[in-house]
Amino acid sequence: MSRAIMARVFRVEGLVKRYGDLRAVDGVSFEVRKGELYGLLGPNGAGKTTTMSILSGLLEPDEGRVFFDGVELASDPIRVKAQLGVVPQETALYDTLSARENLLFWAGLYGLAGADRDRAVDRALDQVGLTGRAKDQVRTYSGGMKRRLNLALGLVHGPRAVLMDEPTVGIDPQARANILEAVRAVAAAGTTVVYTTHYLEEAETLCDRVAIIDHGRILAEGTVDELKRRVGEKEILTVSGGFEVEEARAKLAALPGVQVVATTPGKIVLSVAGAGKAALDALAGVLASGLDLDGVEIQPPSLNSVFLDLTGRELRD
């Protein structure tokens, strides 16, 4: 977090993308500053990938505009896209080519040639730890290696900003750790990164700022600490047991300062206004309610409790 945060690189204004009656992106606006690692956190189907597709020039929005360094993407897409790197969710590689051949092709596509291209390829291979397997055909790679190469392809031309769409989905913890390390290194080198994820811990540990997105809308935005402070004056209590949900809802909602956030069979999530004594009072009220209880959990403030507070759902649901 010691990187210098400078002028804004991305400016996104009122993006809307409709598919029939569905508004996949519904008025999304945000800004990303130079050198910043900006996260879009939300569940599957929240509109993250659609937003990234618009940012990378693959989709035209129905409404809204995207600016990169003051240049509107729609007015000069080739110029903007030349300065971006894209790491898609799926591993988009040529399986019958080697890692080096893949990188040479993509570097060439972005205008690198000759010795510059060779150096860029060597650097990218080193960046993701694939130098030793550079000449092997990609089809012989493990899933984790393919993911690392997928990342390298988005970095090989030395972009000013990189759009990473859930680059760690579906891989083992070791490969995931390697990729996250590489992402940190990219950001540390001053490259702006826009990173989508539905993993809370990734957003918490990786991103300078996070936008929480759901149903195509940004619900909250800020640093992780800022977001946590939004629920800082509230405690989240998760009550589980063999009770009737509607009966329990009625009893618990009547407690002072308590709001029912979400209910599922055998589980009720409560938000308690005010920290400390208010939470203890609420806990006492829950215990005295006469409900058939299995347990009560008090969650410390986290991005999950922020999401819960904002949407009434847990992010992992």
Partner: protein, 420 residues
């Protein structure tokens, strides 16, 4: 231009690493023509005919009828009949004919008497499928005689009695009665009667080593078959190459390229150029094979321009198919059916003269027609550029129009994100 070269180079490298599909398509015309050549053998005619020797030991009216039918105008396209004496067997041993049909003595009388008779066929296996054709023709005609002899059993008995030695010639009343009986028999007879009166004995000679001229015979078959099949194969190569744009879309690499600093138009153009280059390489391979097998020179300018026009047509057609299909499986299905229909209608598989008149009338609609007839003109008739100018003009015009249409459709799909 640099980007286009980069795109084409990448695709060619990928194809070189995974060439099986291309090799199968390229080997198809050669293998197909070779199999046809092996099957038909040849005596050097454009359309090979079976050479059937007939040893008539009977000389009666039934044998005459059989011979007459075999020599009919329609069957003459398929079989050349030669009546031989006892030397027939020796000629078969020398491999001079496809088959020998022996009509035994007493064939007519036994047939008229309703007694079983046997025809003998000796086949020459060295001539591939031709002996089979000869035998089957003889069988069909024998079946006709067989059915006729059963249906007309009554009248035939009356005729038979008048044909025996020393019998009185038939009176007018007898003739009228026989005619009426024939008519009634035809009206009341069942279509199929069994067991057959006429049976066949089939024998094959030991295969003979190929003669010195077998190479040229095969060449003649290649001459007939290769141009059309090669045109068909070339369209398959084009389909294979252009299909790659959908395959890349499925794999996500197209989406990744579109996120880069190149437009959708450049991508489509790159794929079209790759299709053209792959078609050109394939045509080069087929031309070399053709030159080796056929050993005939062609007008180089005509060949080159016709090939370029054909490649334009191939590229345009495949671009249009995948511009409309936008789905690998759908495109491949549409392409396979369309190419098969166009190749059939265009005379790529059989000579145009062999097609029904209605199909011949629509043949010029097919680009296969212009490609196939163009190459045939150059190879078979030693035609020049002047002779095939219409072919070149039609293929180039059609190709340019289809390429514009296909390019537009693919570009629009890319711009709308349908390919990404």
């Amino acid at each position: 231009m640099r980007t286009l070269l980069l795109l084409v180079g990448k695709d060619l490298r990928r194809k070189a690493r995974s060439p099986l599909g291309l090799l199968i398509v390229l080997s198809f015309p050669v293998v197909f023509a070779f199999l046809i050549a092996l099957s038909f053998g040849s005596r050097g005619d454009r359309t090979p005919r079976a050479h059937l020797l007939v040893q008539d030991r009977d000389g009666g009216i039934a044998a005459d009828a059989l011979l007459s039918a075999l020599r009919s105008e329609r069957l003459a396209e398929l079989v050349e009949v030669e009546v031989v004496g006892p030397e027939g067997a020796a000629r078969m041993e020398k491999g001079e004919a496809s088959a020998l049909l022996r009509i035994p003595k007493g064939f007519t009388q036994n047939l008229l008497d309703g007694k079983p008779v046997r025809l003998a066929v000796v086949r020459n296996p060295a001539q591939g499928i031709l002996p089979e054709i000869a035998e089957q023709l003889a069988r069909v005609l024998a079946d006709v005689l067989d059915a006729g002899s059963r249906v007309l059993r009554g009248p035939l008995e009356r005729i038979a009695s008048s044909t025996r030695a020393g019998a009185e010639p038939p009176t007018e009343e007898t003739t009228v009665a026989v005619a009426l009986a024939v008519r009634r028999a035809f009206e009341g007879a069942a279509a199929v009667l069994s067991p057959p009166v006429i049976a066949f004995d089939t024998a094959s000679l030991q295969p003979q080593p190929a003669g010195e001229d077998s190479g040229s015979e095969v060449s003649l078959i290649f001459l007939v078959i290769l141009p059309g099949i090669s045109v068909y194969a070339l369209f398959l190569v084009g389909d294979l190459a252009m299909r790659d744009i959908i395959a890349e879309s499925t794999a996500g690499t197209l989406r990744r390229q579109l996120a880069g600093p190149i437009g959708g138009g450049t991508l489509v153009l790159g794929k079209a150029l790759y299709t053209a280059v792959l078609s050109l390489l394939s045509l080069g391979v087929l031309a070399v094979v053709g030159a080796v097998v056929l050993r005939r020179g062609v007008d180089p300018a005509g060949f080159l321009l016709l090939s370029l026009a054909l490649i334009l047509a191939v590229t345009g057609t495949s671009a249009t198919i995948y511009g409309l299909a936008r789905n690998e499986r759908r495109g491949a299905t549409i392409g396979s059916i369309l190419y098969l229909v166009l190749a059939m209608a265009g005379g790529s598989f059989v000579n145009l003269e062999g097609l029904p008149r209605a199909v011949r009338a629509v043949s010029p609609v097919s680009p296969f027609y212009w490609g196939t007839t163009g190459y045939r003109t150059l190879i078979e008739s030693a035609g020049t550029l002047r002779d095939i100018l219409p072919n070149i003009a039609v293929l180039a015009g059609l190709g340019a129009a289809l390429l514009a249409l296909g390019g537009f459709l693919l570009h629009r799909a890319a711009r709308r994100g349908a390919l990404a």
